[in-house]
């Protein structure tokens, strides 16, 4: 038989244990849980958290990690999909949905067209390469490097000849990249260019273009320096990355190593507003050195 004292001790220890468990459950502020974000799905089935808002660098789903701090530090160094745990051999539901979402964004970036209203807003006109539609664009890179006869005509009719700097905006493999960055890039670039004492010709937009389309523009307009902004092939980390290719007097004998490149322009890479100033400084360097690409890099100017 238990004495009253023993009984009381048992009850007390059970209550203590229960209350400790309670504390752990009811305080999400306990250090471990606070540091490792878990983004729980709501119990209410009508609501699903916006998966786009989750930063993968902070998303740890490993249950009860041995070293939560260490995991957090490793996660912070990469947007790769690690530490997201699994359900059997598969992704868990949320990471899987997020993967589908990122893949869809990447496909959209390739298949979508840059909004014509945006081009208008920037005061640019549009020309097209030899490519007729997206399918042909993807299967015939060679046609994306050549301007259509109408395009050539329009460019010659509308643009200033032999400018110091010519700017072209090209959709490339990500229309999203152009839409996301051009508004912040352009005013910063134009302002900085003016600060360097350089004048710019007539900027315009090229639909279905590849990088080397700049060579045809160079033949037509004979600029000292040509700057081409083009959407980069999207990945699962971002679909918004834009590149700035620069070339001194591009023409039909230009080869890839003649081009200078600043890539990775997006809000989480080189911010577009900073890229504008940086590209302008690079243009000034190319203009003064009268060379670009590997030649410029090797000259160590």
């Amino acid at each position: 038989m238990l004495t009253e004292k023993e009984l009381r001790e048992i009850v007390e220890s059970v209550i203590k244990e229960l209350s400790q468990k309670d504390i752990k459950i009811s305080t999400p502020e306990s250090p471990q849980e606070k540091e490792v974000k878990s983004y729980p799905v709501s119990e209410d089935e009508s609501y699903l958290p916006d998966l786009a808002e989750i930063s993968i660098e902070e998303w740890c789903l490993v249950p009860d990690p041995a070293d939560p701090e260490g995991l957090k530090r490793i996660k912070a160094t990469t947007p790769a999909r690690i530490g997201l745990w699994r359900a059997g051999p598969r992704y868990k539901l949320e990471p899987w949905l997020r993967f589908r979402m990122d893949l869809a964004a990447a496909k959209d970036a390739v298949m979508k067209e840059v909004d014509p209203k945006l081009i208008e807003e920037l005061g640019m006109f549009t020309v097209q390469t030899m490519v007729r539609d997206k399918d042909e664009y993807l299967t015939r890179p060679d046609l994306g490097r050549r301007l259509s006869p109408e395009a050539k005509e329009k460019i010659l009719a509308s643009c200033q000849k032999s400018p110091q700097v010519q700017l072209i905006v090209v959709d490339g493999l990500s229309s999203t990249a152009i839409e996301a960055n051009i508004r912040d890039f352009l005013p910063s670039f134009l302002h900085a260019l003016k600060g360097h004492g350089l004048s710019i010709g007539t900027p315009f937009f090229i639909r279905f273009g590849r990088v080397a389309v700049m060579d045809e523009v160079g033949e037509l307009l004979q600029p000292e320096v040509l700057v081409e902004l083009i959407g980069e092939r999207p990945g699962l980390v971002t679909a918004k990355s834009m590149s700035a290719y620069m070339c001194y007097r591009p023409n039909k004998s230009t080869i890839e190593s003649d081009r200078t490149l600043i890539s990775n322009i997006h809000d989480k890479g080189l911010p577009p507003v900073e890229a504008g100033a940086q590209v302008a400084a690079m243009v000034k360097k190319i203009y003064d050195a009268k060379m670009s690409g590997v030649k410029l890099a090797m000259a160590g100017v």
């Binding site: 070293d67 701090e69 260490g70 530090r73 508004r183 912040d184 890039f185 005013p187 910063s188 302002h191 900085a192 003016k194 600060g195 590149s243 490149l261 600043i262 890539s263 990775n264 809000d267 890479g269 080189l270 911010p271 577009p272 507003v273 900073e274 890229a275 504008g276 100033a277 940086q278 302008a280 400084a281 160590g300």
Partner: protein, 478 residues
């Protein structure tokens, strides 16, 4: 491409003075075809001086000439020419920083040591640099641990707590091995600090110059200093600790995975043998070895295990010479590199970088006025805190507010702006465009500073891509 440059550290402490030379390596670590990212990729110590006693004329004056001689001799011995030293710092610490000619000596030594060798003083900054120099910060980062580094010198204990390599807080107290010093090893009292007087008063030991103290009294004094320091670590500072405090002391037990000791007393801590031979124990004519011994005997009461750092007695000088210099972001803006270096620039910080033009301008004008009433020069650096993405409109508004603030006030520049985000080149270009050709503008990014901090900016490195920066952060929470 790796570029190397030489850096010097000079530590003029309460008891000792030392010098180290190091080679810093910077390299563009970005992958090809993206904007450059120049980082310090190597910090290598190439020469250590011997440890000198800091030469003093008397209790109030540092012997400036003898320190200059030490510096000259060590430069010669190391084969260094001040012309070839690109960066570095002279740090004056502990009791020495309180001497009447301290500021003057600090200036003199930093100007003879090299063109961008800056002056550093202040116990909290020393605490941070000692923790960097001892390797406690590295161990903390490497192992993902929280480490408290206690740099115990002749006059002060400077503590810095690092969590995963990041500084969390600092605290400092006038507890050191030389709060009483002796003439000869009898031990005849030669001098004392206010802390030395305080501890003796509490223990009822009378202090007179020339008087010989009993060995048992020395042990009592050292024990008392050690227990006072322990009370601080336990978050319950005793009466003596409160008298010794420089700024706030922690009021909660320190939560750490390990404690490391550096400084002269720190070195003795790891080498101490329970030695009662009086001549041996008084070999430095002070209480250092006894204090180390008494601390060691309290080791079990220290709230976390004691670990041995990489450096002990050289920690502060290595911190000053090797770790004080940082590198700015790699897309920055400056109109004229010949106005650099600029040193000891007070920092004002914009509260909200997304506020309206009028409100940012008003805030800056008010801060300009406040600073100029207390500072000698009218050089000010404006810090722009981290935002959540800056579009062109945001950067333009900031540029307009800064340009207008300068035009409205009678400040004539150079305009110096430090941004946390990577927007330096864009912001600088816009400010320069708004102010016109007679203005000098410097905007560096990826630098984080608080209101009331100071900053030093050196001449550009790596083909003009980056500039070396020494950040003198003063505000540390306990």
């Amino acid at each position: 491409m790796i570029e190397t440059f030489l850096s010097v550290g000079i530590d003029i402490g309460t008891t000792t003075t030392s010098i180290v030379f190091s080679k810093l390596k910077i390299e563009n670590v970005a992958a090809g075809f993206v904007a450059p990212k120049i980082k310090i990729v190597g910090r290598e110590i190439i020469y250590r001086s011997k440890i000198y006693f800091t030469p003093l004329i008397d209790d109030r004056y540092i012997d400036s000439e003898r320190i200059k001689n030490i510096v000259r001799e060590e430069y010669a011995r190391a084969g260094m020419d001040p012309e070839s030293i690109k960066t570095g710092a002279v740090i004056m610490t502990g009791e020495t920083a309180r001497k009447e000619n301290a500021a003057e000596v600090l200036r003199a030594i930093s100007s003879m040591a090299g063109s961008f060798v800056v002056a550093i003083a202040g116990p909290h900054l020393e605490a941070y640099l000692a923790g960097m120099g001892s390797g406690a910060a590295f161990i903390s980062k490497n192992e993902g641990k929280t480490i408290c580094n206690l740099d115990i010198g002749g006059g002060t204990t400077n503590a810095a707590i690092f969590a995963s390599g990041k500084l969390k807080s600092t605290f400092c107290a006038n507890i050191g091995g030389r709060v009483i010093r002796f003439d000869g090893q009898e031990p005849k009292v030669g001098g004392w600090t206010s802390m030395g007087a305080a501890v003796c008063e509490e223990l009822g030991i009378s202090l007179k110059k020339g008087q010989v103290l009993a060995f048992s009294d020395l042990v009592r004094i050292a024990k008392r200093l050690a227990s006072s320091l322990l009370s601080v670590l336990k978050g319950n500072p005793d009466s003596l600790a409160l008298k010794a405090a420089i700024g706030a002391l922690p009021m909660k037990p320190i939560v750490a995975d390990g404690f490391a000791f550096s400084g002269g007393v720190g070195k003795l801590y790891y080498n101490t043998e329970l030695d009662r031979d009086m001549r041996e124990i008084l070999r430095y004519n002070d209480l250092g070895p006894l204090l180390a011994q008494e601390l060691k005997s309290l080791e079990r009461e220290i709230p976390a295990p004691v670990i041995e750092p990489i450096e002990t007695v050289y920690a502060t000088v290595i911190g000053a010479g090797v770790h004080s210099v940082e590198i700015s972001g790699s897309t920055i803006f400056y109109t004229n590199q010949h106005i650099l270096p600029l040193v000891n620039i007070p920092v004002v910080r914009i509260e909200d970088p997304y506020a309206t033009l009028e409100s940012i301008k008003g805030e800056l004008l008010e801060k300009f006025d406040r600073f100029r009433s207390t500072e000698e020069s009218n050089l000010i650096a404006i810090a722009v805190p981290k935002g959540h993405g800056f579009g062109f409109e945001d950067v333009l508004r900031l540029a307009e507010a800064i340009a207008l603030a300068y035009k409205t006030s009678d400040m004539n520049g150079p305009v110096i702006v430090l941004c946390e985000d990577d927007i330096g080149k864009a912001l600088g270009t816009l400010i320069k465009g708004l102010l016109g050709k007679n203005w000098e503008v410097i905007v560096v990014d990826e630098i984080s500073l608080e209101e009331g901090d100071y900053v030093d900016l050196g001449k550009p490195l790596y083909g003009g891509t980056v500039i070396p920066v020494v950040m003198k952060t003063l505000v540390f929470s306990v």
